[in-house]
Symmetry: C2
Subunit: 209 residues, 2 copies
């Protein structure tokens, strides 16, 4: 539990008094890789702060297709959940654990009072919004201004960055889903990236060079 306090203090910029309050009110949640945290169906009235592990945020369309939007790493929170909760609207996105992760869940009901009481909390919340807007704009950028080969490479680099590993353990099929295209296309483009010596392929694993 001391770990959690440390992470909050170090990565969120929240003042000690508030961290104490957060610790006394929230609850710890552990999720296994692949677990769905937020989905358009499940409303959810708690806000998650990522302590360890990695979450991914996806956009899902009614027919079940999806696109990867961005990763949420340690110390970050899901800004879109916040607004969703406040407005009581249903989420238009999905949050899934990419790795086994631990979260600190804060009930929505405290949001308003913390926003009024703590300057650092306002900073934290508005900072999250800014970061998420940036990520969404980047996602749009990717799709609108770049071809699939570049989108793919970006995705691999993002994943490397988020996981902190040069080895990406994903199948072509999984990557295809994340980019909303087909497995064949990904295989084709990965082969090309291999020729350009940007990656190396192994079974169930891609190595970023």
């Amino acid at each position: 539990m001391g770990d959690t306090v440390d992470i909050l203090l170090k990565n969120t910029g929240l003042e000690p008094k508030l961290v104490e309050e957060i610790m006394s009110i929230g609850r710890l949640k552990k999720v296994k890789s692949g677990h769905v945290l937020v989905s358009p169906d499940s409303p959810g009235n708690e806000i998650p702060i990522v302590m360890s592990g990695l979450l991914k945020v996806l956009r899902q369309d009614p027919n079940g297709q999806e696109v990867f939007l961005y990763y949420l790493e340690g110390g970050e929170t899901c800004a879109m959940s916040i607004t969703c909760c406040i407005e009581g609207r249903k989420a238009l996105f999905k949050v899934v654990a990419e790795e086994d992760s631990t979260l600190w869940m804060i009930p929505m009901s405290f949001m308003d009072s913390w926003v009024t009481k703590y300057q650092t909390f306002r900073r934290f919340v508005f900072g999250s919004y800014q970061t998420r807007f940036d990520e969404l704009l980047n996602a749009i950028d990717s799709v609108v201004f770049h071809n699939m080969d570049e989108r793919l490479y970006r995705y691999l680099l993002d994943t490397k960055q988020a996981t902190g590993s040069f080895e990406i353990r994903k199948t072509h099929e999984q990557i295809a889903n994340a980019l909303n295209t087909s497995r064949v296309v990904i295989s084709r483009l990965l082969k090309q990236l291999e020729k350009e010596e940007k990656i190396e392929q192994h079974r169930n694993m891609i190595e970023i060079l």
Copy 2:
């Protein structure tokens, strides 16, 4: 000036006392159609609330290409400007007057105190965030899950909705820019929409049926 008060009271859900304060502090700004309000270069430290007219928000890439994201109508504010200002980061987007518009500009410096003091202001700000996230997600949706013909039709419907007119006065070229494609492609698809009897084309004008 009485108009401005009315609009703020009716469309933003802000309490009378705050509206009064906003009126005493902000300033009126009129912009002509085509005028650029926010761009990645110009930082800007005021937040605009749209009183009348119509603004559009675009994403711009370094090479000068751009994509339309969404419209801002009366009573709405530019959520992304807010976070940008607070964080002092440079905008990754561009706001342009689509029609002659009048805005009420609020200096950033009052944001923090209003957020702490007024519940209705918090509602307003968080509500804006929610709406913008939704719009951005829709934009992503459009691009990722739909072909150009559907994107085009959506864009026309959005424009009809935002301007409140069935007649859209835009050239094929302008539409092509908004969707980041070429004029030829738009002409082709408009012809198709005409065949499907969804629109009628006139010179410099498209009529939505």
